[in-house]
Amino acid sequence: MKQEIIIAGFGGQGVLSMGKILAYSGLMEGKEVSWMPSYGPEQRGGTANVTVILSDDRISSPVLNEYDIAIILNQPSMDKFEDKVKKGGIIIYDGYGIHTPVKRTDVKVYRVDAMDAATEMKNEKAFNMLILGGLLKIVPMVKLENVLLGLKKSLPERHHKLIPMNEAAIKKGMEIITPMQIG
């Protein structure tokens, strides 16, 4: 099994840290993992993306032509990565950031209204965990218990008190992800 994933959005949305938690979860699951950030002169409000690969076998290139899954959190990222999803692949997007719907008809499309849910939870920082929950509902590539272990590994100890909130956000994300186009 190999999952090649791009997560792309605005700087400040938690794109890199979501990728990191996914990578740590894969590590906890005993998989091979790679996490390759775009590390340009990025800033809050600029674009940021990260390529995460989880695999049962040795990972060759951390740089990819196309992706199994694209998690798209703003319009510029949709414009950039929509065409780079494999045929039959998956696009997951946040309804708040996307104005132009997915044009491709050969991919599966899901929507997570994570921004709305985060606002409802009165916790904007839950945003990326809501998205992660949605992803794990559609493609359960790592077990929730390993995600929680991954969170523990990737968060500094002083933030471990936030893990229950993150768990709640992941579970909420699993509930609210909605299929828009399947098969």
Binding site: L27, V33, W35, M36, Y39, G40, S60, S61, L64, N65
Partner: protein
Amino acid sequence: MAEEVKLMKGNEAIAHAAIRYGVDGYFGYPITPQSEILETLMAEMPWEKTGMVVLQAESEVAAINMVYGGAGTGKRVMTSSSSPGVSLKQEGISYLAGAELPCLVVNVMRGGPGLGTIQPSQADYFQTVKGGGHGDYRLITLAPSSVQEMADFVGLGFELAFKYSNPAIILADGIIGQMMEKVVLPPFHPRRTEEEIIAECPWAARGKTAGRKPNVITSLELDPAKMEENNIRFQAKYRKIEENEVRYEEFQCEDAEYLLIAFGSSARICQKVVENARAKGIKLGLLRPITLWPFPKKVIAAYADKVKGMLSVELNAGQMVEDVRLAVNGKVKVEHFGRLGGIVFTPDEVLEALKKNFEL
């Protein structure tokens, strides 16, 4: 007990490996994309655990000259930077080579020339393996292509540097520095004691010692006849390194009709190119030089008799390709493919370049 598998960036792996290898001193100055080396060392505070000195110097020039001073006393000392910063260090590196001192330099390359960009590049190949600084000298050059090798090459670099009394360099790039992968850190070695250093480095300047002549650390020799002797000694050492220390990795080369030659992050991308090409029926292999100097010219020359063509794939305008062509000596067509200034090629672009160059 088996060592724990960790997930970290290549830059972080270098910092942790340096502490664990028993390095005595790190002197650096921050620059993207390698600042995590200095940051990690500062966060780990090894001076409290092993006594290792970690110092942010006032400049790259100061840092390499601190390395020069530390190396002259037989200590395991290192510095790291990225391309523009490594250019600043070249005078010091030449002095270290001329004084025959062991040390480790790390260059996490970014796009140039000049201040350039902060994105990954491999355009410092010439600078690293052909000179960089002035004079007839060579740097033992290790090119890691994984986070694991970033950690492993700290120890290997110091081992070779001390074995041959010569500077060694880890030539990485922004991809390997910034990406996170699994890594098993090397086991913990205590720093050498003063007695161990004196035993290992009888040449070191350790203060006036009764019963021996003063040890002088210098690259200066105004008598040209003596300076030629020094150079002849350096060259003999370089031939020995070329004889003994060539390292490379072969990936699906046995039945290959075409060969990619690539190092560092490019070699990782090229592994995927090999997989994709073979899925399309093209018998492609990858030869990855691990030491860029000494260059694995013998094995490349041997493949020149077996394959129909070679493509040197580099994040530059064509640098290593010159060494591949020298090794092949006209026996087979050798072409180059690269992207410039911080742009990274995708596996598809490399495969297209292969097809175009060799009409596949």
